[in-house]
Amino acid sequence: MKYTSFNTNGLTGTRISRPQARIIVLKFSVALNREHFARTAACDMIYTDALISGSGTYTRGKFLDAVNNTGGSLDVSMYGDILTISLKVIDTNLQPLLSLFLIMLTNPTFAGSELKRSKETIANELDEYKENARARAIDGLRSALYAQTSPLYTFEPEKIQKELLRVSRKEILSIHKTILKQPWTVTVAGGEKKTQHIVKKLTLFRKKNPVGKQKEKTFHTPQPVQKKVLKFISIPSKQNIEFNIGNIVPITLYDKDYTAFVFGFNVLALMGGFTGRLMSTVREKEGLTYGIYGRVTATSTDDYGYYNIATFFAPNNAHKGITSTLREIRSISEHGITDDEFVRFKAILGTREILTHDSLLRVTGELHSALLSGRTFKEFIDLKKKIQQLKKQDINNALAKYLSPDALVISVAGPVKTVKEELESFRK
């Protein structure tokens, strides 16, 4: 694979080309940098639907029809404060899909009838979401860690449903205006010629829509909780109890402790497979759950992120499961990783990085996330070296500093009535 970075005024990104690649992936993201309220969340949900619901002379039906006629896909999503549009297509159909993408950005209709439809369908989706214990557990964690004005705070579905009714077309237009004026981060992957063509088109598009007066990022600077916090979300229809456990990690990507902490945390809870300590104890040895994984996320070059551990237990195993999980957190924070783990995880993380390159899609996703967090392409590449240069003592120091079983949030979703009293003992 060949990587080429580009940085013109307000358009930053990387082109990944692979010989004979027939697939094309484009990820286009914009940070909106706003204060967040329930209203913002409602607007964002409507916006991501409304953007693909008619542009120029295309009605919603005709626009979706045109996209599908290319065989490709255009997806719009909002995470936190970042809008991302993903385009996937095979090379022979790139031109029509790219044109639709640009039309969508240039002249979205945001017709009143579509906004009305959008409000109703989103309200219905939120009703379904109310029963999604897994999603609610992670959202519950974020709501306990972040202030309401933070983009990572998740409002209760009822609050968002209330706000949906009040969202105006003016507010939707305002989001779009911001998107066209803010800097764009782009990752594009495919064959050499096609990716060059995409970047050329985007550069021209940027010239027609130059960066305006930028909205500066609103810093929310979350702080870690200093004690155990329990948050219960009752969903009586579920059989298992979903847990999401975590805390703010008060360092940025540039902090010397960051890579060390992530390394150590991966020893505890590496996502996927059976290598993390939690999987080998809570699942393998104790048979308490099917899966228990964690990650460090949302950290950027100028803001703090958080770590979280996600799992579920049957109600009669909930207390045991949390006890075991907290035990492992204590063990690694107090005693650190072993020499064996230090050597093994250098190999494991090195291999994981190599295996990413089996898939153009995966590489694109990972690189794009890195760019969105504020890393440059060079920093993304150099991360490999950084990991291999870590010292065990630095890892253990970072774990001791930022991980504690006595200071974290335990977000619980499901038939919580059956376990609440028992779990309250963890507050002590």
């Binding site: 599908n68 009586p236 298992n240 048979g287 390159h357 089996d358």
Partner: protein, 437 residues
């Protein structure tokens, strides 16, 4: 011998070269009948090896549903050799030392295990697969905790109303065929497993001549085959024949119905239809029909039900199975409409498609499916995932005919799905009723 012949496995003694289709070569290890599929992907430094056993839910007897899946979990337990060297399970040890990606899954017709890793670990991966094919030590000490994990997995699925409804749908749709239970089995059966039951199942189905080993990645063909011969060549098949159920499903004589009532705010209408085997043209026509109905915001039911506020989501299940199976369309209802009031309009929409001109829509869906195929096949893991299904269905070479089959589907083929598969004698209808307390 010419240089060209030396470059392919024909020159490696011990192998019968079967055929080459597209970029994939098929061999059989003469000693024990192990099938091998090999595909080269140069320049990545990565190999994915995948071994597929022709055993799945279809092979399970009454009272032992889910045992193929349970055994899949047990294949990650230590073998005799692992116990000797005290490293724990070879597969887990491999992952913990190298960071390879590993996993496994079981479906109706097959169980499959894969590793993806840098090429220098190729022989180690092969050794693990060869060892655990026959030598996993099954005892209560390793079985009981893993049984707990499988029960945990069952509870995870069972908490999903769609899964709970699907269990009821298939058990009503099939009275004899062993597709009449979900792959994970019934909880009561999982609780009743014994090591003896597992051992019997393991001995019967895990053997070289019931397995296909796939090697996809950056490794030379001769090198790969020589390693396979060295590592798998001494494995023996059990002398007893492989036990297979022989079942004739009784004729269905009308719509079958099921209902689940649980405390919940969710309400679902499900339409189950019996569809043709994979990878027939009819199966792909059914897939296309399902996409037409429920494949995104441009689809028919999305526009008529979600955009009008009658449904909050629509989902489909269509498994690639060797025999006729049940595909399901799920409609999650909003508060606006009841199951009974939703059922007729949905069936009416489907009936209307019998006489509508859906050529344009069909072409769109087929284009999208072909694009999706490109994305699935862009990496070695995606390739083995698909090859597994074609292998399990009995003809791996059809993997290269997918695009051709899709191009050959006509509007008539799709309309035929509406005409034949939604007839009462092929349908099972299910209601998940949420009881608000």
């Amino acid at each position: 011998m010419s240089k060209k012949r030396e470059r392919n496995g024909n020159a490696v003694p011990g192998f019968a070269f079967i055929k080459k289709v597209g970029g994939i070569s098929e061999y059989r290890l003469k000693n024990n009948g192990l099938s091998i599929l090999y595909k080269r992907i140069k320049g990545t430094g990565i190999v994915t090896t995948n071994i597929t056993y022709l055993v799945g839910a279809r092979d399970e007897s009454v009272g032992e549903t889910g045992i193929a899946h349970m055994l899949e979990h047990m294949l990650f337990m230590p073998t005799k050799s692992d116990i000797k060297v005290k490293t724990g399970s070879g597969a887990m040890h491999f992952e913990r030392e190298t960071g390879c990606i590993l996993n496994a899954n079981t479906c109706k017709d097959r169980t499959t295990y894969f590793f993806s890793y840098p090429v220098e670990h190729f022989e180690r991966a092969l050794s693990i697969e060869a060892d655990r094919m026959l030598n996993v030590v099954l005892n209560d000490a390793v079985f009981k905790p893993e049984q707990g994990n499988v029960l945990s997995e069952f509870d995870m699925y069972n908490g999903d109303p769609h899964f709970a409804l699907a269990v009821q749908l298939v058990s009503s749709a099939f009275h004899s065929h062993t597709y009449g239970h979900e792959t994970i089995g019934y909880r009561e059966d999982i609780e009743a497993y014994t090591v003896e039951k597992l051992q019997r199942f393991y001995k019967n189905y895990y053997r070289p001549n019931n397995a296909t080993l796939m090697v996809v990645g950056d490794i030379d063909e001769i090198k790969a085959l020589n390693a396979i011969k060295r590592i798998f060549g001494s494995l023996q098949n059990s002398k007893s024949p492989i036990h297979r159920h022989s079942v004739n499903e009784p004729i269905q004589e009308g719509v079958r119905r099921v209902e689940i009532v649980r405390p919940s705010t969710t309400n679902i209408l499900a339409l189950g239809i019996k569809h043709a085997a994979f990878p027939s043209k009819e199966w792909f026509a059914t897939m296309t029909f399902f996409s037409l109905l429920a494949g995104g915001p441009d689809s028919i039911l999305h526009k008529k039900l979600i955009d009008t506020g009658l449904a909050s989501s629509i989902d489909t299940i269509l498994e690639p199975t060797r025999d006729i199976n049940l595909g399901v369309l799920f409609v999650t209802l909003t508060k606006k409409i009841s199951h009974e009031k939703m059922e007729l309009p949905v069936l009416k929409i489907i009936q209307e498609l019998k006489s509508k001109d859906i050529t344009k829509q069909a072409k769109k869906v087929l284009k999208k499916t072909i694009t999706d195929e490109f994305f699935t096949r862009e990496n070695s893991l995606g390739i083995v995932r698909e090859l597994t299904e074609y292998t399990a269905a009995g003809d791996w070479a059809k993997y290269y005919e997918t695009e051709e089959i899709l191009h050959s589907i006509t509007t008539k083929d799709i309309v035929n799905v509406a005409k034949t598969m939604f007839e009462p004698e092929r349908m099972t209808i299910g209601y998940f009723r949420g009881l608000q307390t």
